[in-house]
Symmetry: C2
């Protein structure tokens, strides 16, 4: 029987981890900074890495905070912004783990329908006529789970609305450095710095295991988040941060990002080609970077049925509904392609097409 193919979790390719460089960085870090990175420290993270990351984004150190992975930043925003019943906006679909955390804080999560070029602005304006949210959580670049990228025009409009209605933007940008083709748009943080927190899952560019997330934002607001972080875990993992600092300091990150692009671009292309070949009628996003694309299955064909049937073909898929904060997503299918080879992708999408046909003929 054919090997199992997993279109499930959005994880980087194991073969992309620069292990020899990490061994060297670990040695350097422990020898040079051992007494600091083996001790307690500030909740803002290992200072040299914080300085390096501030410089990377051309912001000041007090606008930069390092966390134990980026998801936990959502938890901090929950404690900072949300009292039960407060309204927050996300795109619909959005990152399922963020939605789970926001609901754990008993936020009312309103989903703004997402299109291939970003949130539907009319729907956003309609929602703003009803509620002023505490914040709008948005993934403008190569969105998880859809693969959509927000157009410049929509970014400008969203920034203007945030200023006009006085709500915060939480811009989650883990995939932004992974553009395989096309032109980059400015971030919301660039367009509207006074109303935007910009976050990313930084260590994912090297390997997620060290769990290093970053938050950039207004220094006064960050002080409050730092206190929440301190109350939560005292200090993030300084040992991990020291190692990643030495890796970054040695100048290896740009080449690593180029390596990732060279590895992932053909995987995205394999996805797009296989969709054209095996599922030519599929409504799929056509991203220019990132980890994901998504397919909306034909009318009457649910993801749940396809997911169930796909098991017979040794194809693992993820359900779509968890990505939608207020229901929907019955025909939504996320396809994370980074951890699969082009051959596996071709094979997997062929199996998907067969499965969809079987479900339609049931």
């Amino acid at each position: 029987m054919a090997d199992t193919i997993n279109f499930t979790r959005g994880v980087p390719a194991t073969e992309s981890f620069p292990l020899a460089d990490i061994v060297e960085a670990a040695k350097q870090a422990i020898q040079k900074h051992g007494t600091v990175i083996m001790q307690y420290g500030k909740s803002t993270g290992f200072l040299p890495l914080r300085e390096w990351l501030a410089d990377w984004y051309k912001v000041s150190v007090d606008q930069t905070l390092i966390s134990n992975g980026s998801l936990q930043l959502i938890e901090f925003f929950g404690f900072h912004f949300i009292t039960p019943g407060d309204v927050v906006f996300t795109e619909a679909p959005s990152y399922d783990r963020t939605i789970t955390l926001l609901k754990r804080h008993q936020a009312k999560v309103v989903g703004i329908p997402l299109e291939a070029d970003g949130p539907n602005i009319e729907a956003l304006e309609h929602a703003l006529a009803k509620h002023t949210p505490k914040f709008f959580y948005i993934i403008p670049d190569f969105q998880n789970p859809s693969g959509a990228t927000c157009s410049l025009e929509k970014r400008q409009k969203i920034a203007a609305l945030a200023k006009q209605h006085n709500f915060w933007l939480i811009e989650d940008a883990p995939y932004r450095p992974l553009r395989y083709r096309g032109k980059e748009h400015p971030t919301l943080f660039e367009l509207c710095p006074q109303r935007t927190f910009h976050m990313l899952s930084f260590s994912k560019l090297i390997g997620p295991g060290p769990r290093i997330g970053i938050l950039y934002g207004n220094a006064e607001m960050l002080k409050k988040i730092m206190k929440i972080a301190e109350d939560t875990y005292v200090t993030p993992s300084l040992l991990s941060q020291g190692i990643i600092y030495e890796y970054c300091r040695s100048g290896k990150l740009p080449a690593q990002i180029e390596k990732l692009k060279a590895l992932y671009a053909p995987r995205l292309q394999a996805c797009l080609d296989a969709l054209d070949k095996y599922l030519p009628d599929a409504q799929a996003t056509r991203p220019e970077g990132g980890f994901f694309l998504s397919v909306t299955l034909p009318e009457g064909t649910t993801t749940a049925k396809v997911l169930e049937r796909a098991k017979a073909h040794n194809l693992n898929l993820a359900e779509g509904e968890a990505f939608f904060p207020e229901g929907g997503g019955e025909r939504f299918l996320r396809l994370p392609y980074c951890a699969l080879t082009p051959e596996e992708i071709d094979d997997g999408i062929q199996r998907l097409a067969v499965t969809v046909k079987e479900v339609q003929e049931q």
Copy 2:
């Protein structure tokens, strides 16, 4: 002017970190487990370390969970147990960061007065007549902040009360492995496994920077905590855990614990000797291990006044009130001694005695 002496944070001595061994462990870990520890994984932590830690406590792997530092476990208990207004018990005084987190979850935190041999049992029974708490958070060995150790008799009584009244015990035992003299009592987890979670700040024995906390408990309950952990941060820092695993696997932990005892025992003794010498009338705990002892200042002499006045002697002290969940602690002074040399301790307590006298004469 004399150097500043800090009796403030309870941190281990920097000179105790086994840096050369950690360099070697890091190399081994990244070379052997790199593709696992640089990747996402389960919220329960790096499996080989989890297995090692299960074996260390002679429990099963599914009774063992590794977290990003032990404080965050309190956060998970908050999400698991507490709805706003729920009653929980702590000792009074107790670890201030735990009290802060419990209050962030809007628990009503009831403090059970602590004596040199553990919680006042009459007060506990009195509190139980009024409320059945969701749990009693207790630090039976070398308590933070008091230095008190719970007697065997009181442990047995607390275990019996937990069974009788159906509440959980959260036994926090970071200092238990650091007994410098005297005899160990059984843990609450040994006396009452069906009602006890046992947690500790494990990496503190090596260095806190890797942020490795452990939770031992009932496997079914732990499954729920694991889900909360996954929702919060997906995966704890596997890079740190891989390194600490290789350190532990190499058999170096027992010698490290002996090294800590040999380093800290004279520091505790220096504290006790200096108190006898300079503050013979002080009401101080006389612990047999751990990081802390505590002093109750004479009637009419507040910690706030002493703390303020001490600055003139380059002596930094911590306020007492944050350790008391329901008020009190105006004359409570915690003295963490591990990160100070015996000479600094003697000097510091001499300065403290001078300061107390000055405040009394004000």
